[in-house]
Symmetry: C2
Subunit: 331 residues, 2 copies
């Protein structure tokens, strides 16, 4: 029988989609294939619905109690990032747990303190869940319900000529992960560790993008820029040109990469877990877009443009790269 690694995560998802009934109720304006599912409610409201599972050994490694708090935060934050990518507000969350017999009450409580912190900061009450024993490792499954009165920001809505933008900076979380793996803690490590351990979903930006009326497509960068731009590209049926020199990086990023002998473009393009928003702005709206009130000091950078065709052209001073970078593969 075929192994999962032979067909990859996206090959598997395609096969699974073909098994499900093709016709989904008209209530759903977006099913599988975007950051969240979308259905229309009375009164011009779009409801958003998303789920992410965090698994021990794959998405996190257990540690001390402080670490459990961070894992709890992240379990909710990565789901909120999907709501942000649609331009929505969170309404509530369900949190399901699978707990190995070795799990301590204090660890579960620390995990929940982290969930509660994130829940409070982003006004997303935990309104239910499910608690189970696990024969494997820890399992944390969070589902978030959201809403927007604006048109949701879909992956398929880019047009040729749109400019391509990203919030914040890229590669910081991946660098944080490398620092943790190598147990390094240089003086400027803190912001990178924080980005990896307790990402901040870009809720303010998502809201602003949806209200602006100038945005085409949007996605959150969870698999890495290359992988997620690939999703935008396929969903919109367009190619993209990206200027690698314009990819936003943290001030200390290049220096730390050099001292750790890391290839910066691997982290920038395929590191993953950035949880920034990647979106397009309609052609000719760039100047107006830049005059929007920028939210809470998180900047945006224009990094490329959508064009007719397919695929992504990675340009460095106008020259294409030889090796194609790719996103994190699960299998």
């Amino acid at each position: 029988m075929a192994k999962l690694r032979d067909i990859g995560e996206f090959g598997l998802i395609q096969r699974l989609e073909s098994i499900l009934p093709a016709k989904v109720s008209k209530k759903w304006t977006q099913g599988i294939g975007d950051d969240t599912a979308v259905r229309r409610l009375p009164g011009g409201v779009h409801e958003l619905f998303t789920q992410d599972i965090l698994l021990e050994g794959v998405h996190f490694l257990p540690g001390n109690l402080a670490r459990w708090e961070e894992i709890g935060w992240k379990a909710l934050a990565v789901n909120l990032s999907d709501i942000a990518a649609m331009g929505g507000e969170p309404i509530g969350a369900l949190v399901g747990l699978g707990l190995p017999s070795s799990a301590k009450v204090e660890e579960v409580e620390a995990l929940y303190r982290g969930i509660a912190k994130c829940s409070k900061k982003y006004s997303c009450p935990v309104i239910g869940g499910d608690t189970n024993a696990s024969k494997g490792g820890w399992v944390i499954s969070a589902t978030v319900l959201g809403e927007t009165r604006q048109r949701p920001l879909l992956r398929r809505s880019a047009r040729a000529g749109d400019s391509l933008w990203v919030t914040g900076d890229l590669g910081s979380a991946a660098l944080g992960w490398k620092l943790m793996q190598r147990r390094k803690s240089p003086v400027d490590a803190q912001p990178f560790l924080k980005r990896f351990l307790t990402p901040e979903p870009r809720m303010d930006w998502g809201r602003l993008l949806a209200k602006s009326g100038m945005v085409g497509a949007c996605i959150d960068v969870s698999d890495g820029l290359a992988g997620d731009l690939g999703h935008l590209s396929r969903a919109s049926g367009l190619g993209f040109d990206v200027d690698l020199n314009r990819l936003p990086r943290h001030l200390a990023f290049s220096k730390l990469c050099a001292s750790m002998k890391l290839k910066p473009y691997e982290l920038l393009l395929a590191g993953g877990e950035d949880y920034e928003l990647l979106f397009t702005v309609r052609a000719g709206k760039e100047t107006a877009f830049q005059k929007l009130p920028l939210s809470r000091g998180v900047k945006v950078a224009c990094i490329g443009r959508a064009r007719d065709g397919t695929g992504i052209r990675w340009l460095e001073d106008g020259i294409g790269m030889k090796q194609k970078p790719r996103g994190f593969r699960h299998f």
Copy 2:
């Protein structure tokens, strides 16, 4: 540090609830503590929101491809049962997977065929999900969104004097599980295996109960009658008297229990996985209730009555039992 088994599943849930912010947005009329969370939508609609995780080795054991189909069915069916217990209609489902490296593509496809069958039968489209590698066993996390235009059937709405009813029969799934464990397949085993492997959520009954206007509290029996009646009892602040001789059983139940040397009341009260609806009917409405059109041949039985006070009195020909039965404990 404290072990989970010292405080039990419900002790843990109480601790976790105390960590979450006490105030939940007014949008939610029901948070943690019922079969689903409930929020009010415009136009008199109540939205329902529930999640259940199935874990390898805890909720299911992997087997041949036919078995994977059954596991897929069950992952969705147990969530639909929660929607039925609130009197709701399913609207859509998210299905998240954690797949060990040993998982075969054909196994995942078989799992999805089972999900698709249940999805089609109960008109609950799968509109999203999340697919991950797992370092432990298989993880299936399903979330279902539902709706009702009626008042949702809560656990806390029983009143003293209400009669207590249950749909279908009890203990059949537990007997099916015992048959599987012992690898027995007597001639009349099939209905019991089916009840354990591919439970049918009581959607028709849930709908009818909500519309009848005669029902007080309702819950689905997943942990076993004793455990779930305990939930009704605590949520409603009432005691219950239950007549053990009136517990509904499948025609072949007693004979099979005898031939396998199983104690019938252990299966009837604490077996779990029945996925029947347990509910109360307002005092004086019993006769009118019995005149309701019964749905699809699934019968109901009156098994007891709610009273002022606390706790459950198990009566057999009017005499209390010495040993208190209990529901399935996760830790």
